[in-house]
């Protein structure tokens, strides 16, 4: 997929063909977490949508417009037709813009995925807000809740202008987002999740805020399979810390064990909160992620 912006492209992040395909996809949360404002998501409560839900006995005071007159004619008793109540779902997209994402096309791929998932949310008449968190202590860049197709341009502009830099860990980024976010729905977290602390607390915060967690991990090829040899001094891109490693090629096995443990930790923290988790490589083609991996994982439909 090209990410350049020729004159006929709507955005530099996604090409038009992908956008066309994305317009037909919808986010598939595990649980309905909606808001009282009317939307496209049917609530458990009766509503005024056109989607029939059930019948109930008529009680005085009911709106006679919802009496099923055909049944009244047959049974001579009034029954009220109940309809699905469709409520709006908030989709909060959080993109980790710390320095660790500025490697091997990770941040670029994160922006593309955020834009793509935002498009599917906007096309599903959701309220979409976006957050890009880089440096800790600084307020995140925020796209206010927006909805509708008209907000697509706004969404693209937001992510096109997003820049990488800073040392904010993902937990503080979540806290920064929740300080501004209102509404239940879905939280899409796109990060490498390379954090020394446990994700239990930020995920708890998301869960208690009524947000279902979609955790999308983007790793570079070197992080997935570090083919390094010799004696090295590894330097942390975020805080400049160093670690001297000797015969690093002998440690690949241990590294893979710890990487898989990290991924299993994120997956477990997501799953116990009815969330989803997916780890991809920044080298994996975007079409493959959007139209194959995410659909097979049930993220999109």
């Amino acid at each position: 997929m090209t990410t350049t912006s020729p004159g006929n492209q709507l955005t530099t992040l996604l090409d038009n063909q992908a956008l066309t395909r994305l317009e037909r996809l919808r986010l598939q949360p595990n649980r309905r977490k909606t808001n009282r404002t009317q939307g496209e998501h049917a609530s458990g409560k009766g509503g005024s949508s056109t989607e029939f839900a059930d019948y109930r006995n008529y009680v005085p005071g009911d709106d006679v417009r919802f009496v099923d007159w055909n049944i009244f004619a047959r049974l001579n008793r009034p029954f009220m037709k109940l309809y699905q109540y469709e409520e709006v779902m908030h989709v909060a997209i959080l993109v980790d813009a710390s320095n660790s994402m500025n490697f091997e096309n990770k941040f670029e791929r994160a922006r593309q995925l955020a834009a793509a998932l935002g498009v599917t949310a906007l096309m599903g008449i959701e309220r979409v807000s976006a957050y890009v968190v880089g440096a800790s202590g600084e307020p995140p860049r925020v796209m206010p809740p927006s909805s509708g197709r008209v907000s697509m341009r706004r969404l693209f502009d937001f992510f096109e202008r997003a820049e990488c830099g800073g040392d904010a860990p993902i937990d503080s980024a979540v806290e920064a987002m929740l300080r501004r976010h209102r509404g239940k729905g879905l939280a899409i977290i796109i990060s490498d999740f390379l954090t020394p602390t446990s994700l239990a607390r930020p995920f708890n915060l998301l869960y208690s805020a009524g947000l279902e967690i979609f955790a999308l991990q983007v790793l570079g090829p070197t992080e997935i399979d570090p083919e390094l040899t010799g004696d090295l001094r590894l330097v942390d891109s975020e805080n400049g810390g160093t670690v001297d490693v000797s015969s690093i090629d002998e440690l690949h096995g241990i590294y893979h064990e710890h990487r898989e443990q990290l991924q299993e930790h994120v997956r477990r923290q997501s799953r116990i909160r009815n969330g989803r988790f997916l780890s991809i490589s920044s080298e994996t083609p975007l079409e493959l992620v959007l139209f194959d991996l995410l659909q097979r994982q049930g993220w999109l439909k």
């Binding site: 090829p221 001094r233 975020e238 440690l251 710890h258």
Partner: protein, 647 residues
């Protein structure tokens, strides 16, 4: 006994260098910086690694291990470890080195000589024996002590480097006697002999082995390290000439029969050609093919106008192990009459001399000029009584040598001949039975034959009371003493008298080289009559010029000739004589080698060891090489790109 040891264990303190090496390595380890997104995972990895194996960080430091390997190798090399081969490495050990002619042989085409192989082996022995003291003894025609007992490796190596083969037959007995003499003043338990086993007079044993018997008692253990031999060789073992008997003194050209004996390999068939050169010109060429162990005599006939220098050379068809025995030299003298001085009172002798056509007797009747030097002098007095009379062979009649005056006296009486040496050149075919002698030599009281031998005299005939005929051989001179006067005996009237004169003439002719001459072998040049009291310079092959001085008799003798080739005798830069010397030894040319050495006590028979004996084997060269190789590996490893930078 442990299997290894260290000659310089004090250098073990160098092991302390490991500490600074470790410190410097970890302090100065230069690591390439490599930025990664996050250290989160790597912190976990490092922590996990440290918890699992605290020492693994050392395990993977290949550069450190290579540096440690280099350091340890160098330290161990400095400590000079060795594999212990046998006890007593600190003992005094004479090493006898055979440097006879056969050690110049090569056993394979283009291969090293036996001497070169022997030197390599001796160098190993030196390394193994140090710091024990070693004395190197070269055994050629005689024994030469190259070094005193020393553990100075430089001295030993220098002496070994300068050792060369001498083209002479080996004399093992001399070497063993020298070691025997050294054993009297030094503690010697073992003597090592490094040789190819080519000793004189080898004998075959019943078991098919060859044995060298030496008449020496060995107060030490003899280790005979025999070099492996497998040589094909053909060499000249005899070179002589005889003047043809039909020749007369008046002929302008002297005809000679020249004989060249060529011996082949004892195990292989050999063939080639034998060239004869006369004064540098080829005068004969004969092909020769020899079966295994065979020798042939080739005959050449030629005529010479005067002095001729002959050289015989072998041109072998195939591989020839020893090249130095392929050449021999011979000098043919000028033909002339024998010059004989015979006292005028000895009429019986002068009468007997008249029958020889090529003999000129002095003093003659016309009293014309007479030569300064005679070939034979028959006198009634000793040389001291007539000092101006020079002769190579002297027959003194009725006179007792002055140095024997205390051993024997003459008294008047009857003295029958009791016994005589019938094999002596002077008395062969001379029958002395029933000869009446009026003079009776009487030996003094308690005088034994040994006393005459000690005085340099050989008893040729013995009477009832003492010796009758004596002989004395000195370099270039022969003297025969008839202690009784023949005029006062019946000898002139017996058939034996002209035979005696004939024998004296033959002895003289041989001494003058007029009848038969032999090739000059190496070792010592034959004495040569030159000007009196004159200094001559002798230059030969493979040696620097040496000066020798003739005595009052003009005899130049004792000139060593250790190498095959031409020796030039010059006076004040002008050459006065030229002599060629060849090996001319059948034993050396056969290259046969002894399997056993049997000293006087037969129970101490010494077997040859073709395999190297156990010796203290030094390990420091190996360790030094290991250090060098490891250094190269480290250099390669250091130069290798250590980081693959992704992206």
């Amino acid at each position: 006994m442990t299997w290894t040891g260290f000659l310089s264990p004090s250098w073990a303190w160098l092991f302390l260098l490991i500490i600074p090496l470790l410190v410097v390595y970890f302090l100065k380890l230069k690591r390439p910086r490599f930025e990664i997104p996050s250290l989160v995972l790597w912190h976990s990895v490092i922590n996990d690694q440290r918890v699992n194996s605290p020492f693994q960080r050392f395990k993977k430091h290949l550069l450190l291990w290579l540096q440690l390997a280099i350091l340890l190798s160098l330290i161990l090399a400095a400590m000079q470890p060795f594999l212990r081969g046998e006890p007593g490495s600190s003992d005094n050990r004479p090493i006898l080195i055979d440097c006879s002619a056969s050690m110049a042989a090569v056993d394979t085409r283009g291969g090293p000589t036996r001497m070169e192989r022997a030197k390599e082996r001796i160098a190993e022995l030196i390394e193994a024996t140090l710091p024990g003291r070693i004395s190197l003894i070269a055994v050629g025609a005689g024994a030469r002590q190259l070094t005193e007992f020393t553990n100075n490796k430089r001295i030993l190596t220098k002496a070994l480097d300068t050792l060369t083969v001498r083209d002479v037959p080996g004399n093992l007995v001399d070497g063993l006697r020298m070691a025997q003499a050294l054993a009297r003043r030094e503690t010697i338990s073992t003597v090592t002999l490094v040789s190819d086993g080519n000793f004189p007079d080898l004998q075959d044993t019943a078991g098919g082995q060859k044995i060298a018997r030496v008449d020496v008692e060995l107060p030490f253990e003899l280790q005979f390290e025999k070099l492996e031999t497998a040589t094909v060789n053909m060499g000249i073992t005899a070179f002589n000439a005889r003047r043809q008997t039909a020749a007369g003194a008046a002929d302008s050209l002297t005809p000679w029969d020249v004989f060249v004996r060529v011996s082949g390999s004892p195990t292989e068939v050999t063939s080639g050609e034998v060239l004869l050169e006369q004064d540098g010109q080829e005068v004969g060429r004969q092909p020769i093919a020899l079966e295994a162990g065979q020798s042939k005599r080739l005959v050449y006939s030629l005529q010479t106008p005067g002095i001729s220098r002959l050289a015989a050379r072998i041109v072998s068809d195939g591989f020839d192990g020893l090249s130095t025995d392929n050449t021999a030299y011979l000098e043919l003298p000028v033909s002339r009459s024998l010059l004989v001085w015979c006292d005028t009172d000895l009429q019986s002798y002068r009468h007997a001399l008249q029958v020889f056509p090529d003999v000129t007797v002095y003093p003659d009747s016309d009293a014309s000029g007479q030569p300064d030097v005679f070939d034979l002098a028959i006198t009634e007095t000793t040389q001291k009584a007539n000092p101006n009379l020079e002769a190579s062979v002297r027959l003194v009649v009725g006179e007792i040598p002055e140095d024997l005056a205390e051993l024997v006296t003459i008294r008047t009486g009857s003295s029958p001949v009791v016994d005589w040496n019938r094999g002596s050149l002077l008395l062969q075919h001379v029958n002395l039975d029933s000869i009446e002698i009026a003079d009776e030599p009487v030996r003094g009281d308690d005088v034994l034959d040994q006393h005459f031998r000690e005085a340099g005299y050989e008893i040729l005939a013995t009477g009832r009371s003492g010796p009758l005929v004596l002989a004395r051989h000195t370099p270039g001179r022969q003297a025969f003493y008839l202690l009784f006067h023949t005029d006062r005996s019946t000898l002139p009237y017996r058939v034996g008298f002209p035979v005696l004169i004939k024998n004296a003439i033959d002895i003289t002719r041989h001494a003058a080289g007029l009848a038969e001459v032999g090739g000059q072998p190496t070792r010592v040049l034959a004495p040569r009559m030159l000007d009196r009291n004159t200094t001559y310079t002798v230059s030969g092959p493979g040696s620097s010029p040496q000066t020798f001085r003739t005595g009052p008799d003009g005899m130049l003798s004792g000139i060593p000739a250790p190498h095959v080739g031409i020796y030039r005798i010059s006076e004040n830069g002008s050459e006065v004589a030229r002599v060629g010397a060849g090996i001319l030894d059948a034993g050396e040319s056969s290259l046969a080698s002894a399997d056993l050495i049997e000293p006087r006590d037969e129970e101490l028979r010494v077997g040859a060891s073709t395999t190297q004996i156990d010796t203290d084997r030094p390990l420091w060269p190996t360790l030094a090489w290991i250090a060098f190789v490891v250094l190269l590996v480290e250099w390669w490893y250091f130069q290798k790109k250590t980081v693959r930078v992704s992206g």
